[in-house]
């Protein structure tokens, strides 16, 4: 197991700390926009002088409240997020001036209608497909402009193209810092745990100054590299190198990622919307800003896109670069798009890449903890 940094902050701790920091910022008049998804171009939010805060909930606690209005047979992330909004227990939702949703999956799409009754929720209409490319990019570009206009209208401001371009540059710098950090997973033997990668990436959302965030990632990258050079380099490890793919796994990180590493695997790569795949592609810094944003964001490889060939290409490339020995796919309960696509992921991983695959469908509860540990244990036994 890779060691965690001395000042390691758990997700909950970071969330707590962020709450106080955000309250202070709000008191000073800071604009805050709540978002749910990596498809939302945060550059526009920054360009509006606002801070984007992620509202995807990782906790089991608000689910019973969510289930008073939402079906039980629904993704835990959606139920938890809505439950937080309904019970006013999420400070980030509470402090958001406006919520920006998107029509990614059926569950979120319809949940946003109900959320709109609690707080104004502006929903971007994401195309269902990248094909034909020209039509998809044009449609998404006009939705991005509509978001810009909404923000202008909402805050009574004008957002200039220069401001957007500035935000694009800033976000690109951040992407480089994130990516460099996450690419530490390529080291052999590994020097960074997947548990840390996931936690730090998610928790970074609670550091509101983008420059602070960049610094923190750069610092940790240097630290880990140093540790690898002095302590790990040249040593051998028989721990299998695991890639985690599928749904966002923040809510099952302890049950899955931590368990994998405790049972003797090393998670070297997290290929989810909270992982490396959204960081790799930068936004074009020249030319029309809206087209540049549309091109970048339409290429996000979530399973809501149909068909979704880029996900497989990217996955294959990453598996080679990170020398992956086994793939674990996390499906959150009732996430139809990832769940149906899993059939092709398994085929791709096992047949094209010749690597073992384990699919796990789960939710935020602890009920299946033992069963999942058994499966993970058997999977790791199979790899060693």
């Amino acid at each position: 197991m890779q060691k965690l940094p001395d000042n390691f902050e758990t997700y909950d701790e970071a969330r707590q700390r962020g709450f106080l920091a955000l309250k202070e910022l709000k008191d000073k008049g800071q604009r805050v926009v709540g978002i749910f998804c990596s498809y939302v171009p945060t550059e526009l939010i920054y360009a509006a002088g606002a801070i984007p805060v992620g509202l995807c909930a990782n906790s089991e606690e608000p689910i019973p409240a969510g289930e008073t209005r939402l079906p039980r047979n629904l993704c835990p992330l959606i139920k938890a997020s809505y439950g937080f909004a309904l019970t006013e227990k999420c400070p980030y939702f509470y402090f958001s001036d406006l919520v920006v949703g998107e029509t990614t999956c059926d569950g979120k799409k319809k949940m946003f209608e109900l959320m709109n009754e609690i707080k104004e929720t502006f929903v971007m209409s994401l195309p269902n497909s990248r094909e034909p490319r020209e039509a998809a990019v044009a449609a998404w570009r006009s939705e991005i402009i509509r978001l810009k206009e909404k923000l202008e209208d909402f805050y009574h401001i004008t957002i200039t193209e220069d401001q957007i371009r500035e935000a694009i540059r800033l976000k690109n710098r951040e992407r480089v810092a994130f990516q460099t950090y996450l690419e530490l997973g390529k080291l052999d033997p590994p020097a960074l745990s997947g548990y840390e990668m996931g936690t730090k990436t998610d928790a970074s959302a609670f550091t509101f100054d983008i420059n602070d965030r960049i610094r923190s990632f750069e610092e940790r990258t240097r630290e880990v590299l140093h540790y690898w050079e002095t302590e790990r380099k040249g040593k051998t490890s028989d721990r299998p190198r695991i890639m985690v793919t599928g749904c966002p796994n923040g809510g099952v990180r302890d049950k899955l990622l931590k368990t994998i590493e405790e049972l003797g695997g090393d998670i070297v790569l997290i290929d989810t919307c909270g992982g490396i795949r959204t960081q790799m592609q930068k936004v074009e810094e020249t030319g029309d800003v809206y087209t540049a944003l549309a091109e970048k964001y339409i290429d996000i490889t979530c399973s809501v896109m149909s068909p979704n060939a880029p996900r497989f290409e990217m996955m294959g490339k990453l598996m080679d670069e990170f020398q992956v020995d086994g793939v674990v796919e996390v499906i959150l309960q009732a996430c139809h798009t990832f769940n149906v696509e899993a059939y092709n992921v398994k085929r791709y991983v096992t047949e094209q890449k010749g690597v073992p695959y384990l699919g796990l469908e789960t939710d935020y509860s602890q009920a299946d903890k033992g069963q999942i540990a058994t499966r993970l244990g058997a999977f790791l036994e199979m790899l060693s």
Partner: protein, 274 residues
Amino acid sequence: MMYYTGIDIGSTAAKIAVLDETGAAIDRFVIPTGWSSRMAAKHIAELLENKGIYVQDTEEHEKNTLVVSTGYGREAVEFADKQVTEITCHAKGAQLLFQKEKAVSVIDVGGQDTKVILVENGLVSDFLMNDKCAAGTGKFIEVMANRLNVDIEEMFELAKAGEPIPISALCTVFAESEVISYIAEGRSREDIASGVIASVANKVATMCKRQRLAEKIVLTGGLSSNSYFAALLSDRLGQPVENSSEGRYAGALGAAMTAKKLGERRSRQRAQVQ
């Protein structure tokens, strides 16, 4: 003499297999798990002791076996030298029982979980396990047997004599109410039992089809001696499913084999140190 003991504690029964230094199976037995896996483990240690196999050093005897535990209750075996999941153990045990076929698919219908394991060249290359619910597991049969007021063996006897009524619920709880409504309709116990067993076979077969199957398919676990169930599965899969009375010991045998491997590794390491 050194022994290698495998203990497979399932939710219903605990299976024990012992190998000698040559790897030959010299003993095997089964006891009901009862309400506590921990108590079952203690009881197993006593039974082994009566046979001259000591899992721990005592005042009179030296420990003379390595123990590997597996199954749902594997963590309750405090004296185990190693714990390994039942998936790996069933795969190893099946390989031993059904002789070195190049590839074999193992179906283990257990009390809590059902697994389909693909074993190639002695190694697990893929496996599937039922999700949280009990449909398609031994538990499902047990619940329905209780409802019909028979034990599991009688349940199968009834099933053989009946014409299956479709039981379609995915969930044990709902299927139970489905069975209750059939009872209320006055359908025969034979037909209901037949429907229950068929529905388990259907569910297990669907799980099998989600995976590449080897040409040789074997049934292990609690239902492994049941040739009626094996025949139902063969029918659903369009491929023969073999069964044997020894199949229930696959997990324990696999665990014992793992213990033997552990012993070999330890003596190698000892030799290196010396």
